[in-house]
Amino acid sequence: MTMDLSVRIGSLELKNPVMTASGTFGYGEEYAEFLDLSRLGAVVVKGLSLLPKEGNPPPRIVETASGMLNAIGLQNIGIQRFIDEKIPFLRTYDTKVIVNFFGDSIDEYVAAAERLSSVEGIHGLEMNISCPNKQAGWCIFGTDPRVTAQVVSAVRKATPLPLIVKLSPNVTDISLMAKVAEEAGADALSVINTLTGMVIDIKTRKPKLANRTGGLSGPAIKPVAVRMVYEVFKAVKVPVIGMGGIMHPDDAIEFLLAGATAVAVGTANFVNPRATIDILDGIMAYMKDEKVEDINLLRGAAHAI
């Protein structure tokens, strides 16, 4: 049986739908010893900003039931160092490189997108809009539809690269946010970022994370993520990249059936550095068992009545 695993994210063609989730795969090189990066559909790197960012004080991580909270605080080396130090390495692999980025203001988003757009070896951009918006008095770019529309439109004008907008799940109506991002020019949507959570230490009577709250990821959030992908798929025409708690091939397939065109593997990389490859192999085994010749036939199948 011949099998077609390739999928399209806007103008970007991926050899298969397995990507890495930003912030869980470093800049790619950390995992190169454990797997062949060229087998991946795409590598999405840790979120970058124009200038380096120090991040939050530790502890930054706390485990929860079937999940973890992180409050890294978007620590990163900045776009320039990324271009100088990391891109040359990534260019030696036959995979698509997608750069996740963010800013504290619309101007910063635009400047970052512009800077990233002229670099050879960057194939697409993923905008993280789950970050505080300093201009609008610390609301979040990803939760107020008007602000979302503004920032996405501005970035859209600033880059010719395929633009993925990564949605925050901490909203009342994810379909609305998806439609807003689509209308503002997103070529694809990543669903979902982490859910905001907190753990308190009953001995010290203080939150365990220095930042108090953090983002919940891992298997615990998978049912919420699948539901959101399902809703977003109904609401928009652009492709959806599904993520949230994907540990095994079955989880990835659930997202495809819910409507995802591709999937991203996050927290699972920490548990099993070869998780992406195991998931890719498992998807292929499923397609063989189920006699599915083209992966695109699985997309949204759970919507049939």
């Binding site: 950390e30 995992y31 530790p58 706390v62 079937s66 973890m68 890294i72 920490f270 548990v271 550095p273």
Partner: protein, 256 residues
């Protein structure tokens, strides 16, 4: 893939009320671990707990890699019940190691509590050269004391209650040791692992006496390989990863 493998549990036995010694049969392709390095060890199959746990290299013997662990929370509770013969996933050896002292240097090795797990193999490798300051709450909490004697030049024990060695902390004992009038003053190098407050005091003592010190830091970890940025401590260069630039740091680098 030699740093990610399945290891068979050779032995997993109590060595103390709440401490177990785990011996893992590791593949030949695994790089040789060095004192101060650590492993990320799978503690269960399901997703709760989710993450691997970091454990220092205790010793490498003909039997395999040994880990000395304290049964403390959810992960180690499950680990202690794992049967010999079962297989677990392991990532390692990871992180930095203790830099060996030059020939004319006297190594002073500080171990607070379970910190002994990290420095034991260093003492072993320095066969007979190291003076060890070993602190525990009570006599009963001194782990692997007998085994240690075979490798150390000298062991200065302190316990909180005085039930063995000096009553007090090893920091006091280190301070007293260094304050003895000696001439000429020998060249020392300090290596320390233990609770953060102890490491902080040791770092201050090292600075005071102008001795180079390497200390092993701990922070909550997710990936163990530098990807998540979860395990940072504050150093002069900003937030730095314990799993990659550490766990062994130059004491003077740490911003407390």
């Amino acid at each position: 893939m030699s740093r990610y493998f399945k290891a068979e549990i050779r032995e997993n036995r109590p060595v103390h009320t709440v401490h177990n010694l785990l011996t893992l049969n590791v593949p030949l392709s695994m790089p040789e671990p060095r004192p101060g390095q650590f492993f990320m060890v799978e503690v269960n199959k399901g997703t709760d707990p989710l993450l691997k746990r970091a454990f220092s290299l205790f010793r490498k013997t003909a039997q395999g890699v040994q880990i000395l662990y304290r049964i403390r929370g959810k992960g180690t509770e499950i680990l202690k019940d794992m049967k010999e013969g079962s297989e677990i996933e392991v990532l390692g050896p990871l992180g930095t190691c203790y830099p060996l002292p030059s020939g004319d240097t006297i190594p002073l090795i500080i171990a607070g509590g379970i910190g002994i797990a990290s420095v034991f193999s260093l003492v072993e490798q320095l066969s007979g050269r190291a003076t060890v300051f070993y602190g525990a709450r009570t006599k009963n909490d001194l782990l692997m004391h007998k085994e240690l004697k075979g490798f150390a030049k000298e062991i200065l024990v302190s316990t909180d209650d005085g039930s063995a060695g000096q009553k007090g902390t090893i920091a006091d004992s280190l301070s007293a040791f260094l304050s003895r009038p000696q001439s000429p003053t020998p060249k020392y190098r300090i290596y320390a692992c233990g609770p953060h407050p102890l490491l902080k005091i040791v770092s201050e003592i090292a600075r005071e006496f102008k001795i180079s010190a390497n200390i092993s830091m701990e922070e909550h970890m997710a990936c163990g390989i530098g990807a998540c940025l979860g395990c940072v401590v504050r150093t002069r260069d900003g937030y730095t990863r314990v799993c990659k630039e550490g766990p062994v740091f130059e004491a003077r680098e740490i911003v407390w």
